[in-house]
Amino acid sequence: MTFADYLLLFGGMGLVTYGPRALPLLYLARKQLPQWLIDWLALIPVAILSALLAPSLLTDAAERSFALGKPELLAAIPTLIFALKTRSLAGTVLVGMLLFRLTGMFI
């Protein structure tokens, strides 16, 4: 990809990221969103994160098939427990990386 390709891609990504961040601040500052929308939007982050995580832990990307017992999944369980106990972002990332590395060595 050329410089212009990257600029187009990242400029486009930047615009669609900045829009949702800025528009509510600029235009909805004193207006109230409808309650059903607030309630629905409140469930979006957990749903997105789970939808991003689950296929990467439970499926084989190359064959696009169900796979139980991948190193990604085995490392995720203690990593999840660590995150629940400590609520530390940096700690969870580092522990996850270490556990994944160890799992890869033994499998």
Binding site: W40, A47, S50, L89, T92, M97, R101
Partner: protein
């Protein structure tokens, strides 16, 4: 002490509070940013493209997804659409923050908006709710974490070529961050239920339907199901 000194001391106190609020985020961003830079180089992006992406986008998870999609040969509109959907959640955060930023100028809001992330939102909202927080300290949190993110991804991109593939479990940095951000989101039974629904639906969607629509499709379906289940539960137990 003259008024100028008072002002100065006051300001340094405020800056200090903002820095100490931002510190845990910076600590988390550093390994994740390094990992992103390294993975981006391994996916074939030049180092300056990594810096450009961090500067223009500043959204950790979307940047990882972008690198993964580029490596898989995805189309540019596909990557931009996925970014849009993945980052739509910031609209809700921005709406919630707006309550605490009334009276700020449009220019301030435009600059502030650039730095809204899952992490800075979580930290600023806790402080705003507790009182003793103002928009300038919140702005410092946003932009200090932003600067650390850009620096970390650049360092990762520059050392990336010396890091062997898969070293230090670096492929797992994003998964680790997602797991922790998911834990932050589990604020009640309905969130746990929605997360489980999203997991089941996304795996099924991923296996049955080619392409990357599973992220958008599964998360919107799960949130809608969770929303209606919550309404039913509330009706049953008034």
């Amino acid at each position: 002490m003259n008024s100028n000194q008072v002002l100065k001391r006051n300001r340094s106190g405020k800056v200090g509070q903002a820095v100490s609020a931002a510190w845990p985020i910076c600590l988390g961003y550093f390994p994740v940013g390094l990992a992103l830079g390294v993975l981006a180089r391994q996916a074939g992006l030049p180092w300056w493209a990594v810096g450009m992406m961090s500067l223009l986008v500043f959204a950790g998870s979307a940047q990882f997804i972008c690198v993964a999609m580029l490596a898989a040969g995805a189309s540019l509109p596909g990557i931009i659409l996925t970014t849009f959907v993945v980052n739509l959640r910031h609209g809700l955060m921005s709406s919630a923050l707006a309550v605490h930023l009334s009276g700020a100028s449009r220019r301030f809001l435009a600059v502030f908006a650039y730095g809204i992330t899952d992490e800075s939102f979580a930290v600023n909202m806790v402080r705003f709710r507790g009182g003793n927080w103002d928009r300038w300290r919140a702005l410092i949190v946003n932009h200090l974490t932003n600067a650390v993110w850009i620096a970390a991804t650049l360092v990762g991109a520059l050392v990336g070529q010396f890091v062997p593939q898969g070293a230090f479990g670096i492929d797992y940095a994003l998964t680790g961050m997602f797991i922790c951000l998911l834990v932050f989101q589990l604020q009640g039974r309905i969130h746990i239920l929605t997360g489980l629904l999203a997991a089941v639906i996304s795996v099924g969607w991923y296996l049955l339907i080619p392409g990357d629509s599973y992220i958008v499709g599964a998360s919107m379906t799960a949130a809608t199901l969770g929303y209606f289940l919550n309404i039913r539960r509330r009706r049953r137990s008034p």
